[in-house]
Symmetry: C2
DNA sequence: GGACCACTACTCGGATATCTAATGTCCGAGTGTTGGAGG
DNA sequence: CCTCCAACACTCGGACATTAGATATCCGAGTAGTGGTCC
């Protein structure tokens, strides 16, 4: 049950975008160069964020990506769902349909108590992710590492060369 | 981030084992036949449970698997970890090591605040899984579907034919 | 009749294929810019 | 000098390879039972 590495890329990239001047798009190539990532593949992940309405994309010269809304309105859950999809980690293949006393009309994803127990944990996970926003993360980082915003802006400026 | 289907198989199988007479091993073939699963592959999952000390295995005639300890001492987390492995779902590849101001001596899996946020959710998930035991599930099932224990025993008896 | 022994059938355990999904790459569609030509 | 236009360079978006991991299968090692044989 490994999460796609795109989630890590997306979270750090969203965080970086909060430190860059608003209203200005940054191309995927720059965002990728920042961490030495493959540009085309990061682009693919950013497309997923765009489809989810987390970032907005602009084509052509001076184009790129920027946050589609304020970082205080983007939760970690939003990003994870955008990359990984909305379905829960535990998949119930409705094994009980093959067992004794099975009722074909029942949806065991709802009534199966094993599923119910797993879903309880899944909900706790989602609740915790939804409780944290990109803005929260940014504030935590700025408190612990005050130099990070400046370093980030400088690094991006250097990449323009 | 899809969980292996082996988790569902393992949970339902552990539950079934609680209803069968204790001290008596059940071969993987019977456990698989119960839900129409591929026997060799379920066997593989049961081996993982055995390595984790959740079930004990016996070779030869009259051999098979049985719970290694009381169901009240087997949590959902135990089963998930046995099948999926102990590492958390979010994997931090320490992207920050490629960023500005990176310190090669720092373990960013610990200090990175993105990782920290994701780990918080992961811990909530694990806490919820650890709070539920196989015995709890069994009690829930017996309360909601009193016929299940009998049906299960009968089905296994029929499989001996 | 009892005890020992070899043989058989059964079961787990791990080594080996196959297949799906994540990872990585490439090229085309669209867009803003820019330079030049014409008025 | 200003305006319009056409060519260009840049960027996203999705289609197409490649690779890692999950899924599925198979065969060998070991064990308990069983039947026969010898004492």
């Amino acid at each position: 049950m490994r999460m796609s590495e795109g989630v890590e890329w997306a979270l750090h990239t969203c965080l970086n975008l909060t430190w860059l001047p608003a209203g200005q798009a940054v191309p995927a190539a720059k965002l990728a160069e920042f961490y030495g990532l493959p540009a085309a593949y990061l682009n693919k992940q950013l497309q997923a964020l765009a489809r989810a309405g987390i970032v907005s994309s602009t084509s052509g010269p001076r184009g790129g990506f920027q946050l589609a809304r304020g970082p205080e309105h983007i939760t970690l859950l939003d990003v994870v769902v955008a990359i990984e999809g909305p379905e829960e980690a535990f998949r119930c293949d409705q094994l009980l349909k093959q067992g004794p006393g099975a009722d074909p009309t029942v949806d065991y994803r709802q009534s199966c108590l094993v599923s119910r127990g797993m879903r309880r944990a899944d909900l706790a996970w989602r609740r915790e992710l939804a409780a944290q926003t990109i803005a929260d993360l940014r504030a935590d980082v700025e408190r612990a590492y005050p130099a990070t915003p400046g370093n980030t802006v400088n690094r991006f400026a250097a990449l323009r060369a």
